[in-house]
Amino acid sequence: MMHAQASQPSLPARSDQPRRALRAASAAVLLLALAAYLASGFYFVQPDERGVVRWFGRVPDAQRVPPFGVGPGMHYALPWPFCSVNRPKTTEIRRLFVGLTPETREAIGRGEMWALQSSPASDVLTGDVNILKVTMAVQYQVFDPFAYLFAADGPEQLIRLTVQSVLIERMAALPVDQALTAAKTALEIETLSRSQKLLDEYGSGVRLVATNLQSIEPPEAIAAAFNDVVSAKKDGERAVDRAVAEQNRVIPRARGDAAQRLAEAQGYAQQRVSRARGESDRFLSLLAEYRRSPQLMKDRLRIQSLEKAVSRIRVYLLDNRPGEPPAKLRIIDRADQE
């Protein structure tokens, strides 16, 4: 309309023809503008999204119940100011961190994930009044886009603070040693279920997928003392291992020694009995001979012995006559001579 008005003064009315053409042109422009305006009401919902439409500010009842909103594809709603459309992602698993300082959170928000490594996490008290640094990664999913959009202002903050509060509360009932070791999994599970219950009470429309302890550690100032406990535990175990190894060495060796002693004893026994048998057999054989002719046997044995003896010994003869006193001899040990 403005366009038509503006062009009028420069074109004085000379005939009906150009004026009609101008009218047609401005009508066409108007129609085009109207069409473009109406066409702006088309919207696309991606496969990972649900569309939530507000007609005059109100979400129709049909969109407030499962499966919530409108599904993927092309849809039409009246253009502004009559309708407005939100398309939250519902299949995406979103992530946020609990226990970080606000600066670190901002850095991560800007996509600087390295900030997570150096972040001084906030302190958490354990039940036995120790201070630990705890960070937790929370994964969640929007399951009710209507509630997600309209139940809370800033659902991320709500989730983060809820999980943080549950974590604080649970940690405040745990001894530090358990919090650092055995109770970790239970802590994660309890935090998840309790936080989910609270978020359901708030009607937040999100489902927690996982709450994972990203880090749980003593503050830097006393980290060394905690590490020393770990190495002390290892030292203790090593001492026990060494003792067991020694045990494993000593006892088999003792068994071996025992077996050897028994074997020696058995060998001795065998030998002793065998020799006894042999000697007694020999004796019995000789005895049988001896009984046949005792004197002959005795003489023969005696002579045999003498033969053996005489063949070995040195004999000196002193030829003194009978009746004379025997020669006096002194035996001098060779040891004395030298």
Binding site: D123, V240, R242, A269, V273, K298
Partner: protein, 332 residues
């Protein structure tokens, strides 16, 4: 020119007419004010009508759940004093909370909120004050263990906060038209000075535990070694016993065998043994000095002849060995 004026007038008229329409958003409450005085509260979203501007004006409030951190993240920590059951004055603790709140879904409450608070920032400031004062009062009446304790049933965080929540709720729900959905603790700590004491205590505890682990390990190691040694001694003693038993049995058996054999003719046995002992006694180092007339010599010279008299070489008799000396093998 006339057309231009008409067009401008039409646009102005259309805009003015549109001020009669009121779109209440899903996330809002709307209050219609007629010359500044609230006349209608719209809780439900949708299209409404009102008198045009400048007669009727609209104020909108968020109807959703809002989260308030106390103190806010960029504010300094807030310390509270707890009570000690024994000592009276307890620990200083730093506590931060979050409050989940919303404007109550009630026309009178929305109107109250408009009149007393006016906007969210003021409401949160006021709400923060209420939470801090109620939390401070509650902590001052309770032992620190109600928040932090390993004893079962001693830590009653939920109950404690429910009490605080209830008192805050009473203070704000009618006065300000605010509903408190939840108050929860998001930070729990000690002031800097006390933190250092906690660190010292923690370090001491760790040192104790480390020492205990080491000495426990030593203890178990010593026990294992002692057991191993005992077991070894047992095994050896048992073996010794069995070995001696085996030897004893063998000796007995041998003695029995000898007795059985030699018992048949002890006299002959003695004879044989004597001869054997001679054979053993006379070796290469034996020197025999005999007198020419000795019976032993005659025995030697007659060795080839049969000996008829049993007199001769019974060497047990003294005269039969007139000077036999057995020299030991050459002295070393």
């Amino acid at each position: 020119m006339r057309a231009l004026v008409a067009a401008v007038a039409l646009v102005a008229l259309l805009w003015w007419a549109s001020t009669c329409a009121l779109i209440v958003d899903q996330s809002d409450y709307a209050v219609v004010k007629r010359f500044g005085r609230p006349v209608a509260v719209c809780l439900e979203p949708g299209l409404r009508f009102k008198l045009p501007w400048p007669i009727d004006d609209v104020v909108r409030f968020d109807n959703r759940l809002m989260v308030l951190e106390t103190p806010a993240a960029n504010q300094p920590d807030r310390e509270y004093l707890t009570q000690d059951e024994q000592a009276g004055i307890g620990k200083n603790v730093v506590v931060s909370t979050f409050t989940a709140w919303r404007i109550r879904r009630d026309p009178a409450a929305v109107r109250t909120f408009l009149e007393t608070m006016g906007d969210r920032a003021r409401a949160e400031a006021r709400l923060g004050d209420v939470v801090v004062s109620e939390l401070g009062a509650a902590l001052g009446q309770n032992d620190f263990a109600i928040l932090v304790s390993v004893e079962k049933g001693r830590q009653r965080c939920e109950e404690f906060l429910a009490g605080v929540r209830e008192r805050c709720r009473k203070r704000v729900q009618d006065a300000y038209g605010i509903e408190i959905v939840d108050i929860r603790i998001i930070r729990l700590n000690f002031p800097e000075q006390n933190r250092r004491n906690v660190f010292d205590r923690m370090r001491a505890e760790r040192e104790t535990i480390a020492a205990r682990y080491r000495s426990e390990g030593e203890e178990r190691a010593t026990t294992i070694r002692a057991q191993a040694n005992r077991q070894r001694d047992e095994i050896l003693a048992q073996a010794e016993m069995e070995a001696e038993q085996t030897r004893g049995r063998a000796d007995a058996e041998a003695a029995r065998i000898y007795a059985e054999a030699y018992g048949q003719d002890p006299e002959f046995y003695r004879f044989l043994r004597t001869l054997e002992s001679y054979e053993k006694t006379f070796d290469e180092n034996t020197v025999a000095i005999l007198s020419a007339g000795s019976e032993f010599l005659s025995l030697l010279t007659r060795a080839a002849e049969p000996v008829s008299q049993p007199t001769a070489p019974h060497m047990e008799t003294n005269d039969a060995r007139p000077g036999v000396a057995t020299q030991p093998a050459s002295p070393q």
